[in-house]
Amino acid sequence: MALLLVVVQLDVIVDWTALGEGLRALAPGPAAVAWAVLACAGALDSRRFVAAELLGPRLDLVRRQPVSASAAGVPTALLLLILGAPVAAVAAVWYGPSDTIAMALWTLLGTGPALLLGAGRPLAAILVVGLAMSVVAIGQAWPAARLPALAAAVVGMLPLLGAGAMRLAPGGGTRAQRVGGRSTGVLTALVRRDVLALVRREPGTLAALGVVALLVGLVVRVARVNNAVHGMASVCAALLALAAVGPFVLAGAGAAARHAGRRFDPPEWPVLGRTRALALAATASVLLLPSWAAAAVGGAGALGPVAHLRVAALFAAMVTGAACLVAVRPRRPDHGVYPWWLGACLALTMAGSAWGPLAAAGLAGAALWGARAAIVRRRR
């Protein structure tokens, strides 16, 4: 559900056709950087699936051989090319079936960084992306040098891919994951518990948040239609409407903590203070996300990327502020302080200069730090 809302949000913010055309029109250097960013984002998104499900079990045979990382890189790269065939097919649609170099590059970019990130080697992943992007840049500047550049890049990637394959634990996943302690797994478990508490114990609060989200979308839409407003007026409508949801978000996050009882944060659990603080902020985000998406849909066309960044800064400050207040007093978060916090964040995000939203983002960071400090203090 949350993912769907993010997709809606992104779809509203980003004009994909224009983005594609813009990327094609870029000079070789910026194009390479843009593709690298996209490849890294995709790899980050799919790293766990690629490491645990797709590659981990299939690389068991390679891992058992007494060979060096470079030698293991050859079968690993072959496996990546085979498993990445669907990615190559997409490249064929994009560039035409005759462009095998682009297909090979897409496949390596789609699977290599994901394998390395899944194996816990982010620097190697960045290096692989860098090598691939060098091929793209060289290919755009000197088309004849594409093939030699690709060959050189692949030779350079082999030891990295081999080392990554060797680091995957038997049966999939990294060794660190097998030993335990993935902070993302802990985070998911905590947020899931908090959301379950709300779904089962506070359906009224959730329903209210749904209705409020509709109202937020409506308010932003009305502001846009009535005024034919562009620029700051629409942005202010979105920011004000979002801030009005704040008390509901704090009430929801507090209710989740209250229903967890002593299990809100037992000091004997192996959970870092910062992980618990992040989980609180994530729970608050789940509550605020529908309103954010509604504001984005309501303001579609009138809110530009900068406006969305302002809204995102307010969103971050709101959820971390709520997390901090719940961390300080889980059973009874201070509803008297929160409006002041919201007011300060609103004032900053509505400021004309770019420094305001940046300061709001800074406040969000400070609130997260405060939440962590409160949790650590209570455990002592």
């Binding site: 335990g180 302690g181 797994g185 478990a189 379950l196 508490a197 000091p267 192996p270 959970v271 002592r380």
Partner: protein, 204 residues
């Protein structure tokens, strides 16, 4: 082989002046019976052993690491005497959450749940006192921690369920260190007995 759990001159002093301990013992796999009269600080010491109370003096080591560090707390689980699980969770959700928190999300808790005769979809809030005790035990064991600290694990259990728990603990004692507090004799033979005494005013 190093001890799974070791305590050396462990003491905890409340602001009221009450002091639990001292306690000194060391154990590999097996059962330790932590005993003492009512109010002697057994539960307090148990909470120190798992890192829930951190202002203790003396030393505690879980596989050689202080339980105040996160790495050690992955290897130790506490079964409290009082029910603590949120009532809105089902049995499976409760143990799955703890298994994920201990970094073993694919822990096969279903087998243990069946051995304890617990329905997977039973809400904690709808369980009887005895069932709730078993759910708390299942959740404590989630993720296979090497050290189990059990505070009165046989309380509220009928003879059949007490027998199930006893059988389970007998199976676990070969691979885990199990510290059980009780002021009554245990229904299973302990490998060690540690006795606590207290000094000063009552913690309450």
């Amino acid at each position: 082989m190093s001890a799974l759990i070791a305590a050396d001159d462990l003491r905890y002093r409340y602001p009221t002046g009450f002091q639990a301990g001292p306690l000194t013992f060391s154990s590999g796999p097996g059962v330790v019976h932590l005993t003492g009269p009512n109010g002697s600080g057994k539960t307090t010491l148990l909470r120190c052993l798992c890192g829930a109370l951190r202002g203790f003096s003396g030393s505690v080591r879980i596989r050689g690491v202080d339980p105040r560090e996160v790495a050690a707390r992955r290897d130790v689980a506490l079964l409290s005497a009082e029910p603590e699980l949120p009532e809105f969770l089902t049995v499976d959700e409760a143990w799955q959450q703890l298994a994920a928190i201990r970094g073993v999300p694919d822990w096969a808790g279903g087998t243990l749940r069946d051995r304890l005769d617990l329905p997977p979809g039973l809400r904690v809030g709808h369980a009887s006192a005895g069932q709730r005790r078993l759910i708390e035990l299942l959740v404590a064991a989630a993720g296979d921690p090497a050290v189990l600290l059990l505070d009165e694990p046989f309380a509220n259990l009928d003879p059949d369920r007490a027998h199930r728990v006893r059988t389970l603990l007998e199976a676990w004692r070969a691979t885990r260190a199990i510290v059980i507090t009780s002021h009554l004799p245990l229904p299973l033979q302990p490998d060690q007995v540690a006795v606590t005494r207290a000094a000063g005013a009552d913690p309450a």
